[in-house]
Symmetry: C2
Subunit: 574 residues, 2 copies
């Protein structure tokens, strides 16, 4: 069975769970009518089903290679990218003044989900370009905007992010790349950057690198970092490609997965760069790009989960093994009727729903923030971003792992394709800030408001559970109980003045929060179906079987550091 | 840091947790004195550290290949195998009458752990040979024993298991391979078998295939299956290699991991075979081999986890990123001092301990059963086997996944080596009966005694928790609570006359049981240290942070089938 874009899921979530109508009701996004949304989703569905999905295996089997300093991409990738660009889809949410469609990020999120599900490695390219567009829109000078934005939005050029260096990964502030003023308004950028996704390709056009580097008078740490646009080719006044810049791809990494996405070591040797935003304020500018990218990476996890799920489901509908419990009772006769296989598939589907609802809620909050300027929406988006990233990618790992399991022995054979999802998605829990970094962000920066954003969400869930307690007690009561436990865990977090006490349980806290959010969104879906429908049945499954995981997670979340540091390095090494 | 055999862990578990002294106190295993055990563990530690560990990457980078019908194995593998054979280690637990050492399986389990940790793909070979030896010891005629056992025990020859066919995986009874009597006491075996690990190699000697096939008068299903010894070369009377048998390796699979282990498609074309055990009783004979192999595969998961853990720990002691909370307080300055990294490492270590204690307890029960013939020990071993297999391999997956995470971006780069554990170990949750099959075995066959074995274990844990309630309430009380919840879940299982009701939650039940067992074994370790020591500190970590997972798991375990089958195939496909 080939990939099928989950259009119904998006429509249902938009209409009944995440409140897309609120976005469409704003002046800013008045064009996002149901008809427009439908038409766009359908077009993107077609593109991903027909053009992108067939590329997925090609990317794995025919990895990007470096040949004489130039990256040769996987067979068909250039055409796939071109088809996306020609549809104008790269600029779906970009500003109209430079050629974008100005439509909600929520719609772009659904697009990224389908791109990731159909071909994760190629889908990373537009994700980076989208992030670069947003960073330039917010921080670049008008002159830079005029040169770069139209080309990035049209897909003529593509963008990358250059943060990491060998000694500066999670600790970005340790970077050593240097920027020296050239005296003509440009800068000479020197240094080595690693893990640069799509650092080069053969799609034509320019590769536009946003590079973090330190000016001579930059302070140590993150406060002394500035952001520069460093293009592969120096653009002429008319926008055409001029001389090659002093930068090169040193090598490509040999990775466990995502082979179709070239991961470059980049060398900048006095390359010409232009400042983006203010001097020494590079991290703030980069954060614009990273927040967008973090949500995008969470969605990569969900997309990969969708692809893995569809493959496993299709297999379970073909594979016959043993007598099933539904034999003679209208069953399929295939393994999908075995209780444990159906349990695995239902778990996968229930968590894809959860992760997607969280990610799309985050996108809706971003759009509402853009449209209304209300700080509550910005706070909601900021709070949900690390959850969307970490839970989305965790779901990618869990679902692709179960996808392999459903296939049995065939899951371990590469030709089946199940293993590719498992290998590809693994990096999403690492890049754009590891899931551990996301969780630290959640319990520290995202609670600097004294927990206001967290508690607003908790109150909302509790209020919803309250209203359903009489109507649907068997589902509303467990949700109510879970949100109370979450409230207590959140209060515990807020009471810890020493942030490290929070960090000792931040990952399970984030996962526990996601579990409770899942209960909320599943129950909303059930209610929208009047308690009778496929999503209501999935909600029952989720609430009875997966929601209870919050107990263990939130217990783990609130232990503090004492037991951790009691375990010495010697204890761990003994 | 190179691999270091975890000898201290084995010694501690033997002495203080799993009761190795009880084995040594039996007449049957009187030779297993502390000195002998120590000497053997040390020798095996040296072998795995010095000879096997350096082969691990070679197996991955230089996979086994099929060249003109013959398997060429990874560079160095033949020497590694030879070193193991020359030590006599293949026969560590084999009977002395054919050259074995007759020592406890518990000791072999520790060996398999180290072999798996140092080189999982090569370690699979002796595991299969051990299983074949055991099957022959129990079921083969004296004539067959005399020919095969000395050669298998010395490592001159190796063994394989041939169960799976394209349409017969978990459903072994669906197999189509045929056996026709030749009239001279031998049989002509025909059919295709897949996923035959170590189906051929270039170590020299014979490859001895135990093949399941159906005689002309064999009933359909598992009841009509017989077991045959089908060697690659027909042995001469004097034990030397005679003519090639009519069998061949058709192809090798291209797998996600375990590249050093050749996984063959085997074709038998009227190959000469000898009956092992009685006609139509092949499954019973195969089960002897499979039970041994299931425990062995669980231990593969633990070994892979050990290797992944050691690699991650070493990295965390070298890698510097950011200011750590222990700066100026005697910290290392490396990422091991970050709370979330230490939490990950402690989780990994705590679950390796849990899984190892379960597996070694299972081995001890097997040895006690052999030594005493007491049915309680056999029942204990039978009950623990699926838990040891599924939880051991689940631990392999979880720990290798976290091992990648600790490495950050480097974890996704193949050269680092962390990814190999993640890829290699994945199959262990599938082969020798998927973990889903293990869980069904646990709640069905292993509860056919009306739950006697389960309840005996539960009573033992509860009794232990009782005795410690006054002395160490903060750890004993949570264990007591958890075992009560487990008792309720077990009673729920036993009350379900329709086994499918049990199957709907069998995997989370098994995992929940393992969590409670972990509490028991950790607390035993803590008590042995008088509450003051590295294992007592690890026990506190486990009981406060990981034991609470039993709540969600056991809630999930006891929901039954109603919600599963309410979710129709259409619901799952919508």
């Amino acid at each position: 069975m080939p990939f099928r874009a989950p259009l119904e899921d998006f429509r249902f979530l938009f209409d009944h769970v995440v409140g897309f109508a609120d976005i469409a009701a704003t002046e800013r996004f008045a064009e996002a009518s149901p008809e427009t949304v439908d038409a766009i989703l359908s077009e993107l569905g077609k593109l991903t089903e027909e053009i992108w999905a067939p590329l997925n295996r090609s990317g794995d089997l025919d990895p990007a290679t470096l040949e004489n300093g130039v990256v040769r991409t996987s067979k068909g990738f250039a055409d796939g990218f071109r088809a996306l660009a020609e549809g104008g889809w790269l600029g779906l949410s970009a500003g109209e003044e430079h050629g974008g469609m100005g439509l909600p990020l929520t719609l772009t999120s659904a697009m990224n989900d389908m791109l990731s599900a159909s071909c994760l490695s190629l889908g990373l390219n537009p994700l980076l370009t989208q992030g670069q567009v947003e960073a330039l829109e917010h921080h670049a000078s008008d002159a830079l905007k005029a040169i770069y934005l139209p080309k990035l939005i049209s897909g003529e050029w593509t963008g990358t992010m250059n943060l990491t260096e060998p000694a500066a990964g999670s600790d970005v502030g340790a970077l050593r790349s240097k920027a020296e003023p050239n005296g003509d308004g440009t800068y000479a950028i020197s240094g080595q950057k690693i893990y640069i996704s799509w650092g080069d390709h053969d799609f034509g056009g320019n590769v536009c690198h946003l590079v973090l580097a330190r000016l001579p008078d930059g302070a140590p740490g993150t406060k002394g970092i500035s952001l520069f646009m460093v293009p592969k080719y120096l653009p002429n006044e008319d926008g055409s490609l001029g001389d090659a810049n002093s930068l090169r791809v040193v090598s490509l990494e040999h990775k466990m997965g995502l082979h179709g996405s070239p991961t470059a070591v980049m060398e900048y040797d006095g390359a010409t760069g232009w400042l983006v935003g203010e001097e020494h304020k590079g991290m703030a500018a980069m954060f614009t790009m990273m927040n967008n990218a973090r949500l995008g990476v969470g969605i990569q996890g969900i997309g990969a989960a969708e692809g893995a799920y569809q493959k496993a489901l299709a297999f379970s509908l073909e594979r016959k093994q043993g007598r099933t419990p539904l034999e003679g009772k209208g069953g399929t006769g295939t393994i999908v009727d075995h209780a444990d296989v159906r349990r695995m598939l239902a778990s996968m589907r229930a968590d894809i729903f959860t992760a997607r609802a969280i990610a799309l809620s985050c996108a809706v909050a971003l759009d509402m923030s853009t449209a209304t300027g209300a700080p509550e929406w910005a706070a909601r988006a900021a709070f949900l971003t690390p959850i969307a990233k970490a839970f989305g990618t965790e779901t990618g790992m869990r679902v692709s792992e179960e996808g392999v399991q459903v296939h049995g022995g065939m899951g371990f054979i590469e030709e089946t394709g199940a293993a590719q999802y498992y290998r590809d998605v693994r990096v999403t829990a690492i890049y754009e800030g590891t899931n551990g970094i996301q969780a630290m962000d959640l319990v520290a920066r995202k609670m600097m408001d004294k927990g206001e954003a967290a508690m607003a969400l908790i109150d909302e869930i509790e209020g919803f559970a309250e209203t359903l307690r009489a109507e649907a007690p068997e589902l509303a009561e467990p949700l109510w109980q879970s949100v109370e436990t979450l409230r207590e865990a959140t209060e515990w977090m807020l009471a810890q003045g020493d942030l490290n006490e929070r960090f000792a349980g931040s990952v399970p806290y984030l996962m526990g929060f996601a579990r409770v959010l899942g209960g909320y969104f599943h129950l909303k879906a059930a209610q929208a179906e009047g308690g009778q429908g496929p999503r209501a049945r999935l909600a029952e499954f989720y609430i009875r079987r997966l929601l209870p995981e919050h107990v263990g997670l939130l217990a783990h979340a609130t232990v503090g550091t004492a037991d951790l540091y009691a375990l010495s390095v010697e204890d761990l090494s003994a």
